[in-house]
């Protein structure tokens, strides 16, 4: 498939936004159980604002994918059958939940709904945050299933796609939360860093698993089933036109094999070892009480984000659409 940058930015930006929100909520729920020091409202307000900004940026990026963005509202109608439609509904819902969550912290609505007595006053934001968490996971599911539900794109049609989308987003969000905490709440840096390591390691395992799976895939469609002639040697002599068409542009990545391969190694390095190394470097600086650690954590997030762009590019480029069987030779 031809990687579309609007979709690459959409999925990586909302992934980081969802992950950051999950990180904020995790810290708050730990604080409610007195496992972590509680943070003042500012921490959640600014954090929610960043998550909201990322989600908005992703939404804006998605509009560049559309031929008729002014009709985008119509895409919420077919949620019964279409995962894309479901994503279109869940993304604004997630944004709304993050917005209300931040707003409740900002306005100090510490209403006790269940009356749980914790060091954090009130539990209204915890309840709102639960909704946000559900929406975050629902959104990961929708985003992943958009790709996983197309069964003849065999590279995508796997539960690993959904798992990878979820874990990549969470890893990116927790790494961002580490950097954010280095500025705003130094007490949470180690907590977020530990989760970042755990999630990044987990997604390393699942992404490698999907790479191995894809390398072993046998395409179900062949040129024989494509035109229905049973002969071991069938070769296209003409695709019917000399110029390009939508079919020759949309479904081929169009880069040299060396470039294609180098993107794989680029993302494997930029997403996993390099950010983890920077995370470790930042943690050592942080342990010595140096303020530079925040820059290092930010750099780690930036490096991993660039890596995630490459990962998403590779995710698209690697999938082989069966329609390509009909477009092997110009003439």
């Amino acid at each position: 498939m031809h990687p579309a940058f609007s979709v690459i930015f959409l999925t990586t930006l909302i992934g980081a936004g969802q992950g950051l929100f999950l990180a904020l909520y995790t810290a708050q729920s730990y604080a409610a159980l007195e496992l972590l020091p509680g943070q003042d409202a500012r921490f959640y307000v600014y954090g929610s604002a960043i998550a909201f900004a990322l989600l908005t940026a992703g939404l804006v990026a998605s509009f560049f994918h559309l031929g008729h963005p002014e009709r985008a509202w119509r895409s919420a109608t077919r949620w019964r059958t279409s995962w894309l439609s479901r994503e279109v509904i869940v993304l604004p819902a997630m944004m709304g939940a993050v917005f209300v969550y931040g707003l409740a912290h900002w306005l100090g609505w510490d209403l006790g709904i269940f009356g749980i007595k914790t060091s954090v006053p009130g539990d209204l934001t915890l309840v709102i945050g639960t909704g946000g968490v559900l929406f975050a996971f629902a959104l990961f599911l929708c985003t992943g299933m958009i790709y996983a539900c197309i069964k003849f794109l065999q590279e995508w049609a796997s539960w690993l796609t959904v798992v990878n989308y979820t874990l990549f987003g969470a890893a990116s969000g927790f790494l961002l939360a580490t950097a954010y905490a280095a500025y705003m709440a130094p007490g949470l840096v180690k907590f977020y860093a530990a989760w970042t390591v755990i999630i990044t390691t987990a997604v390393f395992v699942t992404r490698i698993a999907s790479l191995i799976r894809n390398a072993r895939l046998k395409p179900k469609s062949t040129i024989q089933t494509a035109i229905g002639v049973r002969h071991s040697r069938v070769e296209q002599k003409s695709q019917g036109f000399m110029g390009g068409s939508f079919n020759t542009r949309e479904f081929f990545h169009g880069v040299r094999p060396l470039f294609f391969k180098s993107i794989k190694w680029a993302f494997l390095i930029l997403v996993f070892p390099l950010p983890l190394f920077l995370l470790w470097a930042g943690l050592s600086l942080h342990a010595h009480g140096l303020e530079h650690s925040a820059y290092v954590f930010t750099a780690a997030f930036a490096v991993q984000y660039v890596g995630l762009l490459a990962e998403r590019w590779f995710f698209f480029a690697q999938s082989n659409h069966p329609q390509n069987l009909y477009y092997q030779t110009i003439s």
């Binding site: 919420a76 068409s245 079919n247």
Partner: protein, 243 residues
């Protein structure tokens, strides 16, 4: 239930592209607006077509065979492009099974083209909506045309009658009989899309001739020498004449 569809006879198709040009002509002149055709005589021509004729070579020299393969929307009975559409612009008509795109609802997200294994949907670069074969829905119900003209433009254009049009759910229709009796098959059956359009395979007429059939061993005219002349009293073929 009606399912209109095409049956394309690969045994007859000569790859002349008449169906491609007549399809383009009809569909670029219709009420839905023109079909993009950029730089048609330039260096890098591109455009939207609902129908393509491709050419494949089967076998290895000298035993090769050229197969011309017209490809358009197969109007699947279980179309994977329809449920993925987020707006409902892509739909299958219940009354005749034609898969269509509502150009006023389409947001141009291209998701349906990803969900079609046959690559028969093409986005129109100027209208910015997904377009595809309509099975000439604006012709086949047009009562101002005489009945024999109420067929898709590609079918009418085909000089060898390689394209048949009809209801594949009616067992007595021309297309159903062709599929049933001439080995009609569907493309990429592995995905369970149940294409309504069918293709008829190449058919060869072969004779099995044994070596001893090439020379007639008992041909009396080939006998050398004089034929034996039986006596007049010997039985002959008709008991009247003798050799």
């Amino acid at each position: 239930m009606t399912q209109l569809a095409l049956v394309i006879d690969l045994n007859v198709c000569v790859g002349c592209h008449a169906c491609v040009t007549s399809c383009k002509e009809w569909n670029t002149s219709g009420s839905a607006g023109y079909l993009s055709d950029d730089r048609p005589y330039g260096e890098d021509p591109t455009g939207t077509f609902f129908n393509r004729v491709q050419t494949f070579e089967v076998g290895e020299f000298p035993n090769t065979e050229t197969v011309h393969f017209p490809k358009s929307c197969l109007h699947c009975e279980d179309p994977p492009c329809v449920p993925v559409c987020p707006t409902g612009a892509s739909y299958k008509r219940p009354e005749d099974g034609i898969v269509l795109v509502d150009y006023d609802l389409c947001i141009g997200c291209k998701y349906c083209s990803w969900a079609c294994p046959y690559g028969v949907r093409e986005i129109d670069e100027h209208k910015k909506v997904m377009t595809k074969c309509t099975l000439c829905v604006d012709r086949v119900y047009d009562m101002s045309l005489s009945e024999d003209r109420r067929k898709p433009a590609c079918v009418l254009a085909c000089p060898t009658s390689a394209r048949l049009f009809g209801d594949v759910h009616d067992p007595e229709s021309e297309v159903s009989i062709a599929i049933r009796e001439s080995g009609g098959y569907a493309l990429m059956p592995e995905w369970g899309t149940k294409p309504a359009n069918h293709y008829l395979p190449r058919r060869k007429t072969r004779m099995k001739i044994h070596a001893d059939e090439l020379v007639r061993a008992d041909n009396p005219l080939k006998k050398e020498g004089k034929q034996p002349k039986p006596k007049i009293t010997d039985p002959s073929l008709d008991d009247v004449t003798s050799w």
